[in-house]
């Protein structure tokens, strides 16, 4: 599989008045061509910072690359100048933000916002750009695109605005599309439409997508692979089936158990106790250890390395060390594992 983006041992800190916030502490992942990689995790886990650092959208006055590289098309994005980065941003890598209200310019008709990246990155005339823009609007399912080109963002609904944002981001056929919680602000019915649209478009233009969300339902719907982030690190990465049906890291267990399914009974919902770690002073060992009932002694002292579960699946937890005691995951997780061939709770049948 062709690797389109490689993030290698990335470390990034914010210099704040309170000290150095180690927002990303050694992140490694590859993005394959045409796939959707979902990054899940709580606020502050570093998922947005990771993608913003790929786009180089972080304030240079405070954000500082400490280590590692982001390889895209043979170049290290962390070392590019602003000018070089501007040629990539919006053209080769583009981004959809969470809030379609604030990511569009309220004082500019949407037609101009659509043609802006085209005129900037491609050598085409205004008229041609306009035609492309109309096609883009049609592609994202906007009725009467010719008329709507002259309208302003406030004349569209939330779902329509997100469609426009998607159209803008796809204007230059980017190789990578980063979607940062693109459906969080939308209703379920609209969310379903937008997700279907994104999947359709992905097939058409063969873009790779990095999809950031905290909604595991959405992840199950869109992702080919999933990376779970916690405390500035990836703690588990695997295919969508591996993460949902054979999770290994206690944090992933916690995440999966804390979502009510439609048949969760009245019992108390499982909630991960405590709050995420303070990255001004990250814990010495496993960052999740303090909130985990499965923490071992070594978790407090040493950071767990990645243990391989399969060729595509690995998790950073000492529980996978050959000397670690065998523990019982939460019941809801065991229920999931029963469906996964290869897990020790597998009960037969196909996934």
């Amino acid at each position: 599989m062709e690797k389109i983006l490689q993030v290698k041992n990335l470390e990034l800190s914010f210099n704040t008045q309170g000290g150095e916030v180690k927002a990303i502490r050694g992140v490694n992942f590859d993005l394959n061509k045409g796939e959707t990689l979902a990054i899940v995790g709580e606020s502050g886990s570093g998922k947005s910072v990771t993608t913003k650092s790929i786009m180089r959208l972080l304030p240079e006055s405070s954000a500082e690359f400490k280590n590692g590289e982001i390889l895209f098309g043979g170049r290290d994005l962390t070392k590019l100048s602003d000018k070089e980065m501007q040629k990539i941003r919006g053209k080769e890598i583009s981004m959809i933000f969470q809030d379609p209200m604030t990511s569009l310019n309220p004082t500019m008709p949407i037609g101009r916002q659509l043609t802006e990246p085209l005129l900037k990155h491609q050598k085409i005339s205004k008229n041609e750009a306009k035609k492309v823009a109309i096609d883009l609007l049609r592609m994202v399912g906007m009725p009467k695109p010719e008329l709507r080109m002259k309208q302003y963002p406030h004349q569209f609904s939330g779902g329509q605005r997100q469609r426009i944002v998607i159209a803008i981001s796809l204007a230059c056929n980017p190789k990578i599309l980063i979607a940062d919680e693109p459906t969080t602000a939308l209703d379920v019915t609209i969310q379903a439409q937008i997700l279907e649209l994104m999947k359709d478009l992905q097939k058409k233009i063969d873009t790779s997508i990095i999809f950031i969300t905290h909604d595991l339902g959405v992840v199950a719907n869109v992702a080919d692979r999933v990376a779970v982030m916690y405390g500035g690190k990836i703690v588990e990465i695997g295919t969508v089936d591996e993460i949902f049906y054979n999770p290994q890291h206690p944090y992933t267990w916690g995440l999966l158990s804390s979502m009510p399914s439609l048949d969760t009974e009245d019992a108390k919902l499982y909630a991960i106790p405590g709050t995420p770690p303070d990255l001004l002073d990250p814990p010495k060992g496993d960052a999740f250890a303090l909130r985990s009932e499965y923490a071992l002694k070594i978790d407090m002292e040493q950071n767990p390395p990645f243990f391989k579960v399969s060729d595509t699946h690995s998790a950073a937890t000492w529980l996978l060390h050959p000397d670690a005691p065998q523990v019982e995951p939460p019941l809801t997780v065991i229920e999931r594992m029963k469906k996964f061939p290869g897990s020790r709770y597998y009960e037969g049948g196909a996934v």
């Binding site: 606020s43 959405v218 949902f244 049906y245 999966l256 108390k268």
Partner: protein
């Protein structure tokens, strides 16, 4: 049946009345909220669920209809004293944690505003302690009291909003999308917290949301709204197992579940209001299909739903 805390009768909330762009945000809806229950209200944005909440708490003056709180009409003339008394009983947690907190006030003063207005703290030490306790209740800590809202993430801000609502010790809380901005693990904490508070203090909730799996989990009964109308109202379990209105069915089919297998095979139904083929002669209103399960339908539809459920 439990005691009624609130009765909402034929509530209407129109905007731009008499103009060309008149909006019937809430169009003649009636329901009751019982003491100690959680009533969930779901629907798409623009369906009027937030407006309903806001009209109940009198943030808007209702166009028509009545809201009775323990038999007392919420709308209509009130002295300042009466309003104050009433405001302490009913609180709201807002949807947008960015817009609902005053950027120029410190967290301490934001949360203590209600405490000050109602004179709930005897001195500044007590006031401080109350705020610290509230911060801890919502999963923050007391160091946060001296910060400004912009120093918090969206999720943390929403928790400040919850702390503020709890500050005056209300009986009834309208929670307008209180957890949409929170992380999954924190959502569970907050939902558990809301449930605990409900049991401890006998709180009643109107829980407005679009996250249907969470709504089902927290609510005793659920109302589904569509274009300003209530189209279905039923006990939570019943609504999910046996949705009768086609809009409810479409809404349920759109929920993504954390199960890749289910997601691959999910079939989404879409809803087209034209399928009802209502004529002017049809008397479309809420009808009770089975005890506690109401659906908006015409006489003709009522008969067919009835006969379908009998044959089951």
């Amino acid at each position: 049946m439990a005691e009624k805390l609130l009765e909402i009768k034929n509530l209407k909330q129109y905007f731009n009345i008499g103009k060309a762009n008149e909006v019937r945000a809430v169009d003649d809806i009636s329901f009751d909220i019982y003491k100690g229950e959680t009533l969930g209200l779901v629907g798409e944005s623009g369906c009027g669920k937030s407006t309903t909440g806001r009209s109940i708490i009198r943030l808007y003056d209702a166009t028509d209809g009545d809201v009775f709180y323990e038999g007392e009409n919420v709308h209509g003339k009130k002295s300042k004293q009466d309003l104050k008394k009433f405001n302490r009983k009913m609180q709201m947690i807002f949807q947008d944690p960015y817009a609902s907190l005053n950027q120029r006030m410190k967290v301490m003063d934001i949360i203590a505003e209600g405490i000050d207005i109602h004179g709930l703290a005897k001195n500044s030490t007590e006031r401080k302690k109350m705020v610290y306790d509230l911060l801890e209740t919502v999963g923050l800590n007391k160091e946060h009291a001296n910060r400004y809202p912009h120093e918090f993430s969206g999720g943390q801000r929403q928790r400040l909003g919850i702390a503020r609502a709890l500050a005056v010790d209300p009986d009834f809380i309208i929670a307008d999308e209180p957890i949409s901005a929170l992380d999954v693990s924190i959502q569970a904490q907050v939902v558990n917290l809301l449930k605990e508070l409900q049991q401890e203090k006998g709180l009643t909730f109107l829980f407005i949301a679009h996250d249907l799996s969470m709504v089902k989990y927290i609510s005793d009964r659920i109302g589904v709204m569509y274009f300003g109308k209530l189209v279905e109202l039923a006990p939570a379990e019943e609504l999910y197992n046996n949705p009768l209105h086609p809009y409810t069915q479409s809404l349920l089919s759109a929920i993504p579940l954390p199960d890749p297998n289910y997601e691959r095979n999910r079939i989404r139904k879409s809803y087209d209001p034209a399928i009802h083929k209502y004529t002017e002669a049809d008397d479309v209103r809420m009808r009770e299909i089975s005890p506690g399960h109401f659906v908006q339908c015409s006489e003709r539809e009522f008969e067919s739903i009835k006969s379908a459920s009998v044959s089951k």
